[in-house]
């Protein structure tokens, strides 16, 4: 049952007449229409890519079965181990532990900015599966006049040998930036973006009231 409070009809009517007295704004919608066409085209490309992928899988099915049989018995080390991040063993890391254990990794400098800045915060977690450290997670936030956002970043530590099932949502992100793929949605007043740097096993979710937060964050992460 919808129990939402109803607006006052007298006031609603007064505002309707108030806004109606304004001259209609002069807005050129051509750029917006072009953007809409681009979004539709990107979605169509994504659907076509999935159809092509499906056709390729079906046509290669027999070979795949044979390869699996051979692989299972002869080459187990080539197969990616899928796991659930939620079921992996988490261990919280301090910044000094992060520095000691992962100070040489590619993204350490970027992550450390969040730990060292006054207007930012960071919490780090390492996830272990089968006794191996497979994923580094970082919950980050930045508060500033120009850019404020929260971000959750996951960095694969297993060189692709372990793959978290939760990262499936990062497959087929429709848009391309310079060195990552992404998708942005507008949910409850915030821009929520998912981005992936596939070859590096880096996955990020960024939430902000500012649309440019994703590109700002990804520049911070990759510069």
């Amino acid at each position: 049952m919808n129990t939402e409070m109803i607006k006052d009809p007298t006031i609603e009517s007064a505002f309707r007449r108030y806004f109606a007295g304004l001259e209609a704004p002069k807005i050129d919608l051509s750029a917006a229409k072009a953007a809409l066409a681009e979004c539709v085209a990107a979605k169509t490309r994504g659907r076509r890519r999935k159809r092509v992928t499906l056709a390729a899988v079906l046509s290669a099915c027999a070979c795949a079965v044979l390869a699996v049989v051979l692989g299972v018995f002869l080459l187990p080390s080539l197969f990616v181990r899928r796991y659930e991040l939620a079921a992996a063993t988490p261990r919280t890391l301090s910044f000094s532990a992060l520095k000691e254990n992962y100070g040489q990794t590619e993204y350490f400098t970027a992550l450390s900015r969040f730990s060292l800045a006054d207007n930012a915060s960071a919490e780090y977690t390492v996830y272990t599966v089968d006794g191996k450290e497979v994923m580094l997670g970082a919950d980050l936030s930045l508060t500033s006049g120009m850019q404020s956002f929260k971000a959750a970043v996951y960095i694969d530590l297993s060189d692709g040998k372990y793959r978290a099932k939760e990262m499936k949502l990062y497959r087929d992100l429709p848009h391309e930036a310079a060195n990552y793929r992404y998708q942005t949605e507008y949910i409850n007043g915030e821009y929520v973006s998912h981005a992936v740097i596939e070859e590096k096993g880096v996955y990020a979710e960024v939430s902000s009231r500012s649309e440019s937060a994703l590109s700002y964050f990804m520049r911070m992460l990759t510069e």
Binding site: E4, D8, I11, E12, F19, P25, A32, A35, Y186, S212
Partner: protein, 177 residues
């Protein structure tokens, strides 16, 4: 907005999701004035408000696929609000909503026939307390639900509902004077 128009706006947003570019014209015709009023109130400038609207329509086109449910008007107005505040930040201006600047639409290009009634509404709004005006702004400009108002202000839902009712009662009394 009356329920019929709210329904029309939701339909336009769903048409946009299917790639119907004419739906953008429909949205401009249906709620363009309200969007402008909000942008003008935040930026205090007609030219800036038009820029904000331009940018807002770009975002509506790009993010239409994320719209779900029935709150199309609130969804559109949130885009305008956030775009306007971002605009102020990018131009190194203080990004706040100064309600003193909001209720001066008659300073813009305004219908001569409706001007007298509009001035009465503006006068009434300016006589309200700051809190009452803010509640009216949240409900009648942004179309926020009671829950949204509570989240926005840090009040409990019941306190937000009471504040809204008080603001409405005070405004009604001023309009009937």
């Amino acid at each position: 907005m009356p329920p019929l128009e709210l329904g029309q706006l939701n339909d336009l947003l769903y048409a946009l999701q299917k790639g119907d570019a004419d739906a953008l014209d429909g949205i401009l015709a249906l709620v363009g004035r309200r969007m402008f009023a909000l942008a003008r109130g935040i930026t205090h400038s007609t030219a800036d408000a038009e820029d904000v609207l331009q940018e807002s329509f770009l975002k509506i086109a790009r993010f239409a696929h994320t719209f779900k449910g029935e709150g199309g008007y609130a969804w559109v107005m949130r885009i305008v609000r956030n775009t306007a505040l971002d605009f102020l930040r990018r131009n190194k201006r203080v990004a706040t909503e100064n309600l003193d600047e909001f209720f001066h639409l008659t300073d813009e290009r305004y219908s001569a026939e409706r001007r007298h009634e509009a001035l009465l509404l503006e006068e009434a709004l300016q006589k309200l307390s700051e809190e009452d005006r803010r509640m009216i702004y949240y409900r009648y400009y942004l179309d926020l639900t009671v829950r949204d108002v509570a989240a926005e202000t840090g009040m409990s839902k019941s306190a937000a509902a009471r504040a809204i009712l008080k603001a409405e009662e005070n405004l009604r009394a001023l309009l009937h004077e």
